[in-house]
Point group: C2
DNA sequence: CAGCCGTCTTGACGGTTGTCCAAATTTCTT
DNA sequence: AAGAAATTTGGACAACCGTCAAGACGGCTG
């Protein structure tokens, strides 16, 4: 009897702890999301915890309560960013019935991303560069890079499949190509180069059928 | 007579001024070079003028004497870096007698660069990302990017020429591809991934003959 | 030699940074 | 309802930042 009661009590305690943990984590993500706003605006180098707090509904103390460190906060931001980013093109891939549809869907999404989420993407490139200096970022960054490579590969292999072909390239090379093109287009777009987006679209429109 | 003397005096003054300017500029470059050392070690975000000064033979006041600003200093660093970087493969291109020689020379140089100048290259990626946030960097960064694209194009078109072919790609796409591959390899190399360099070499060895 | 000029040193400044903490407040448990 | 625990606040702290300026130094000119 005592044992059963103890067991039940333990279960209740454990459940409560899980709940608390989940709440704690949800708060962390809320804070990370707020931090991403400022990080995307100012970049890693110019962003301070106080600046993040001021541009959000939180005080700077809260951030220290939920994160042991500035690095801890930014790592959390990076991880959270990943989840949002990696599925961006999945719907297009799933719904496209033929090569043209996939191509146009991809290009449309690419344009939208470049024009409305430029800030988040420049932050990604910023943090990836930081990972070259700060070992604490590397694991997460490399993981995200792998996920993005897989994302591009899903698009490419589906595109090839719709033409009864197979991609004539490795996933790594294909990702390098698209990432390089996107990065260059992003920089030009941020520098107010009106041809940045059309040039990118032209390039992709020509390359994708060649490789896949 | 008076006119001639004045003319001569003016010429002397002008010459002295040019000399002073040259000396001034040489000093700027000396300082920029010293700054690059620390920047390559710590990255843009973590580098302060005082840190730069401490890691060099100069005092922090000198930097303020020669540069109006921190941005001014770093812009000068970037411009100086460009000159060193852009000609890296020219000798290989000029001396190679056939496709194999060019390929192997290129790969050797690539390996050496990745292994001995990783710090300078991660700084380049860092500053290119900074340009997405800081408008003051954009002009120089875009210019360097164009130069690097031209550098890659010289290699590729020479490689094609040695096989009586023409590159089957635009300069922009080719640069995007190689830059993406190099960036990824650099990150992995810095993360102590032993396969980073061999993987890059394999990829290039396969891709170059396909495209050119 | 005196005076000037370009160069450099040194220290001080106001402001910002990451971090920490004591107290206040809210939320949960009993 | 009362006490405990979790959360939040806002301020204090030392360290550091970019910038600046007063003055020292050394070479050159007159």
């Amino acid at each position: 009897m005592a044992r059963r009661a103890t067991g039940a009590a333990q279960r209740v305690v454990a459940a409560a702890e899980v709940l608390r943990d989940e709440k704690f984590n949800a708060r962390r993500i809320e804070l990370a999301e707020a931090a991403l706003e400022t990080l995307g605006e100012l970049g890693f180098a110019r962003t301070s915890l106080r600046e993040i707090a001021q541009n959000s509904a939180f005080t700077h103390g809260v951030f220290h309560y939920y994160f042991s460190d500035k690095l801890d906060l930014i790592c959390c931001c990076v991880r959270h960013y990943k989840a949002k980013c990696v599925t961006r093109y999945d719907e297009v891939v799933a719904s496209a019935q033929n090569r043209d549809e996939l191509m146009e869907g991809f290009l449309a999404k690419l344009t939208a991303t470049l024009e409305t989420e430029a800030r988040m993407h420049r932050l990604w490139y910023d943090l990836r560069s930081q990972a070259m200096f700060e070992a604490a970022f590397r694991k997460d960054v490399l993981e995200i890079d792998k996920s993005l490579e897989a994302m591009i590969w899903r698009i490419a292999s589906r595109y090839a499949e719709l033409g009864n072909k197979r991609p004539a390239s490795s996933p790594a090379a294909l990702y390098a190509l698209f990432d390089g093109l996107f990065q260059s287009a992003l920089l030009r777009h941020l520098a107010d180069d009106k041809k940045a987006v059309p040039d990118l679209l032209d390039e992709v429109r020509r390359l994708l059928p060649t490789i896949c």
